[in-house]
């Protein structure tokens, strides 16, 4: 019995639960499924033995591994399941069959993808994450959301197609479809795979689907979306390209550039989307370094990030739910009416900023130490810059402009209880895994489930060095904030659309397509007219010559055609007579 259960990929539980939700109209039943399924999946994951193929399938000459648990995917799976449970609680106030089903299938696809052991199975669940999640954007039911959802779907599906193409190339070259460590450039397929993962991880210039789609998703949708897609890509990068030096620079760039966009962005959920980019950059950079310490850093950061980023999106979701906006220019002073939401948001902000005693600190310290230990000083300086940047946009800007700052005069109801409960639980986790180890609690709980737990447990985040340097960075950066504010040098928030790389396809590309459409609309009929004219003229000439009323049929010789025909026949007869004799 137990063996049968341990062969079920926990992601499948969520997918089946999601399909059930699509069929069940009773809201309470759906909600029980939405919270119960991730817990059941978590139990199954807990009892599964590690490092063996628990479910496999051979078909069409392909050996597929449908379920395999090891130290790397275990922590990602646990984080995904916790996120799915919290999302279920966060959604309790709403009765929306489509979103319930979509969220569960999407989470299930991400979990299932985390535990498969071959590229083909990965492709199937990879695409399922895209197709199932698009409803979380569409259900906003605005024109902007519709456009963003279509762009999201196109880009995500493209990522899947590239993944399939890369995997096929790889299979053709090696005959092996196993999900395994590859070195970049050994085969053209590896580049395809990197781009496929890069789209989902939102690498620089491939990142805009994220800022485009997440802020337009529903209140619950943005929370759900924030947890899975990018972190699934991080996991797959850690699985396939650990220690790939290119990733160090891609990751470091990813941490830096969103900082500037986040400063000038007015929509606070979009600020969080840029912040998500910046955080994933830390993980990608750590994967590029590839040492055991760095891989621990990437996994720990992903775990902590899934929780605190979810928490921040939840708090902004609550603000959107109550006030109808997350624009900084329209908010401020909400601490008066939403104090619990403000408190939880501050805990998320402290966590993402990596203040000591919060989860970000114990996770990011690993990465920073690993990058420095490998002597990538420039990349390390970039990450350090980005750490100050995180404090700016997620640590200060989000809570300050929403809950404090200039008072908007808005007085709304506090968030519904279920939202507060989900935020409270997420905030609890942020602190519980961030504290120094005591009585079996604290960061030791997180470090024990990292890919290399032995290495992790010898690492001390709470040394005087770490605390002092991190506090210097944060406190002086915070002092820079109050100083700039005091002297009026902090740029005021303004409404507007901030241009990013998506201008290339939303404006230039779309414009070019529309222009060619317009040109074709005019050129097409014009060309048809020209052709028709030429054809008509040719026909008229021929008709004028050969028709019964034509030139050859008229004139002094009546029936000229008959004479000419007789002459020609006579000529042919003559020639054949000469030829035969």
């Amino acid at each position: 019995m137990i063996e049968g259960l341990t062969a079920i990929n926990p992601g499948l539980i969520l997918i089946v639960a999601g399909a059930l939700c699509a069929l069940v109209p009773q809201v309470r039943v759906r909600q029980s499924i939405a919270i119960g399924a991730p817990i059941l999946a978590g139990i199954l994951l807990g009892i599964a033995p590690h490092e063996i193929d628990l479910a496999s399938l051979s078909t069409m000459g392909l050996d597929l591994v449908l379920y395999r648990v090891d130290n790397l995917n275990f922590i990602f799976g646990v984080a995904f399941l916790i996120a799915a449970t919290l999302n279920g609680i966060y959604a309790l106030h709403q009765d929306d069959q489509v979103q319930d089903a979509s969220a569960l299938i999407y989470a299930g696809a991400a979990v299932a993808a985390t535990f498969v052991g071959d590229f083909l199975s990965l492709f199937i669940f990879w695409e399922l994450t895209a197709i199932s999640s698009v409803f979380l954007i569409l259900k906003s039911e605005t024109r902007a959301a519709y456009g963003a959802a279509m762009r999201y779907l196109a880009i995500q599906v493209l990522s899947g197609v590239l993944l399939l193409y890369g995997a096929a190339q790889l299979f053709a070259a090696t005959g092996d479809i196993t999900l395994r460590t590859l070195s970049l450039g050994a085969d053209a397929g590896t580049w395809m795979l990197l781009i496929a993962f890069g789209i989902k991880a939102a690498f620089p210039l491939l990142h805009n689907w994220l800022q485009d789609a997440y802020p337009r998703a529903t209140v619950v949708g943005a929370v759900v979306l924030s947890a899975f897609t990018t972190k699934l890509a991080v996991y797959v990068l850690a699985r396939v390209f650990p220690g790939e030096p290119l990733l160090i620079w891609v990751g470091a760039t990813m941490t830096v550039f969103p900082v500037f966009f986040a400063v000038i962005e007015n929509d606070l959920r979009k600020v969080l989307a840029y912040s998500l980019n910046n955080q994933v950059g830390f993980m990608v950079c750590a994967i590029g370094v590839g040492s055991q310490l760095a891989m621990n850093g990437a996994a720990a950061h992903a775990f902590a990030h899934i929780i605190y980023k979810g928490l921040l999106f939840m708090s902004m979701g609550a603000v959107l739910y109550r006030t109808g906006t997350t624009k900084a220019t329209e908010l401020g002073g909400l601490y008066r009416s939403m104090p619990w939401t403000a408190l939880f948001c501050l805990i998320g902000a402290a966590s993402i900023s990596a203040f000591p005693l919060f989860s970000g600190f114990v996770a990011k310290s690993l990465t920073m130490s690993a990058v420095l230990e490998a002597h990538y000083v420039v990349a390390w300086a970039m990450l350090l810059f980005a750490s100050a940047g995180v404090l700016e946009h997620s640590g200060i800007k989000i809570p300050y402009f929403a809950f404090f700052g200039h008072d908007s005069g808005k007085y709304v109801e506090e968030a519904p209880f279920n939202m507060l409960l989900a935020m409270g639980l997420a905030a609890f986790i942020c602190i519980a895994i961030g504290l120094p180890t005591f009585l079996g609690g604290g960061y030791g709980m997180l470090y024990a489930v990292l890919p290399y737990p032995d290495v992790a447990l010898t690492y001390q985040p709470y040394t005087l060095d770490h605390i002092l340097t991190q506090m210097q960075l944060l406190i002086l950066a915070a002092f820079a904030f109050v100083l700039l504010k005091r002297f009026g040098l902090y740029p005021a928030e303004k409404p507007g659309t901030v241009l990013d790389a998506d201008w290339a396809y939303r404006r230039a590309g779309y414009g070019a397509a529309r222009w060619s459409g317009a040109v074709w609309a005019k050129a097409g009929p014009a060309m048809t007219d020209v052709c028709r004219g030429l054809y008509q003229r040719a026909f008229d000439r021929i008709e004028a010559a050969f028709s019964p009323q034509g030139v050859l049929a008229r004139g002094p010789l009546t029936g000229g055609m008959a004479v000419w025909s007789a002459a020609l026949l006579g000529l042919v007869l003559l020639l054949s007579f000469i030829g035969a004799s």
Binding site: T142, V263, L343, Q472, L474
Partner: protein
């Protein structure tokens, strides 16, 4: 409530929990205290740097107050770049044809 007390408008209301958790925000001197508190803390952290005798892996991070100064400069640079970048990149809310400046639900 006395019958002659006018009802509070939205800008004056406060959730009871807000009073307990964040009541200090409304104190007139809070801004000053935060400003000077952070200034003092910054100085202490930098002064405490040589005393702590940090272990360093690279020469540059051994400089006294390196992390603090880096954080200060990085933060200020990121924020100040907001001025030119805002001018360069900010367009109207309906810049893209399909944007109706709408948000989620």
């Amino acid at each position: 409530m006395a019958p002659d007390t006018p009802p509070l408008n939205d800008a004056e209301k406060m959730h009871p929990i807000a009073r307990a958790l964040f009541g200090w925000v409304t104190f007139p001197r809070t801004g000053q205290i935060i400003f000077w508190g952070l200034a003092l803390l910054s100085v202490l952290l930098i002064v405490g740097d040589p005393i702590a005798q940090r272990h360093t892996k690279e020469d540059i991070e051994a400089v006294t107050g390196f992390y603090g100064l880096f954080g200060f400069v990085a933060f200020a640079f990121a924020v100040l770049m907001g001025w030119p970048l805002g001018r360069l990149l900010r367009r109207s809310e309906t810049y893209y044809d399909d944007d109706d400046a709408g948000q989620g639900e």
